[in-house]
Symmetry: C2
Subunit: 215 residues, 2 copies
């Protein structure tokens, strides 16, 4: 502790200092552990060994803290760009299965679930600002990876579709179904986690049956 690094210099990824990053990390930990009720300003200050006054100076108010938490967490997820290799049917399938696994893993993560619960809980408040933020930072990111993958498959003549957006929607639905909602509602993720790999494979199989060329 006492590493400090204040003053506006030594900024990390998104315009905030390392100290502020660790504070957000602690706040995320509190959120995961006890939900929104546990995410009080006093609690964050205590858990992060900082003062409430600093919290308000850094993040403005409680909502600013929540937004910063979402932005911070989203900034940690880096999408893996798929290089334009020569795709075969089998390689495309493997890439799709890997994407499906990654998608499921992200959605079932503790922090992701906690942040989604938080944003959903605030949806009827102040124009769903957190929800839009989560949507923008989260879905857009992983959607881009999917779009690139689908486009590569189309260029290789392995799959055919009109709208990439709509096709991605179908792929998403086949992979996720209502699993995300069930986890958000509190269903034990441990029991579901064992089914992740076969689920991903079945979803991709169905997807390729729908969009695959001569399949």
């Amino acid at each position: 502790m006492q590493v400090a690094a204040q003053g506006g210099a030594s900024e990390g990824g998104g315009g905030l200092t390392k100290r502020q990053g660790t504070v957000l990390e602690r706040a995320l930990g509190l959120l995961v552990e006890g939900g929104e009720r546990a995410l009080t300003t006093a609690g964050v200050a205590r858990a992060a060994n900082c003062s409430k006054e600093s919290l308000y100076k850094w993040f403005g108010d409680r909502d600013g803290l929540l937004s910063a938490m979402i932005a911070y967490q989203a900034g940690k997820v880096r999408t893996v760009e798929v290089e334009a290799e020569t795709l075969t049917a089998e390689r495309l399938r493997l890439h799709l299965v890997a994407f499906a696994r990654d998608l499921i893993d992200v959605l079932s993560g503790d922090v992701s679930l906690a942040l989604n619960r938080l944003a959903i809980g605030q949806a009827s408040r102040e124009g769903a600002k957190l929800g839009r933020l989560l949507q923008e930072r989260g879905r857009r990111q992983i959607g881009r990876r999917a779009a690139a993958l689908l486009e590569a498959g189309r260029k290789a003549g392995l799959i055919a579709f009109d709208s990439a957006e709509e096709t991605y929607g179908t792929l998403y639905g086949l992979i996720v179904s209502d699993m995300h909602l069930r986890m958000l509602l509190g269903e034990d993720t441990g029991a579901l986690r064992q089914e992740f790999t076969p689920r991903a494979e079945k979803a991709v199989d169905a997807f390729l049956r729908l969009y695959g060329v001569k399949g």
Copy 2:
């Protein structure tokens, strides 16, 4: 006002009086309007012209009130049983599209969204009791209708599948995709609502391409 109807007699659907039903109706209105923050015991009492003491007598505590709201709302949804008529491919398709439309309509309803947000917000609290209740009363009900429909289609030799549960999961994913989550996060339902019918038809088409026999 002053209609009363007290005393334990004149019970309605689920073991509660008409008076209590109207109270729950008012509470649901408050929840839809302002989210969980607006659902205070004093607010419900004021909106329903009853006393807080009566609320606690009838529902125990705040959680009891929330559970009663979910049970009450779930009790209003009646699943339409499909009679075992002779199914043709076209009739099955029409039934599936009707089911898809109904599913989308239910999920996009104000009260449904508000209750789902409520249950999700409470998911990290006391073992996700509300989430399980919502799951039990909501999904099971509409899932039964889907299962009956799928079974009828299979018996008529129009579709083929192994697990009805898994097949229903696929159908659900094709219909809903991430639309439910987006609405829960606060995305405007008006913009999405225009796309409901084509979405339902496309989903059913894809489903029949996956599971339809010869065709």
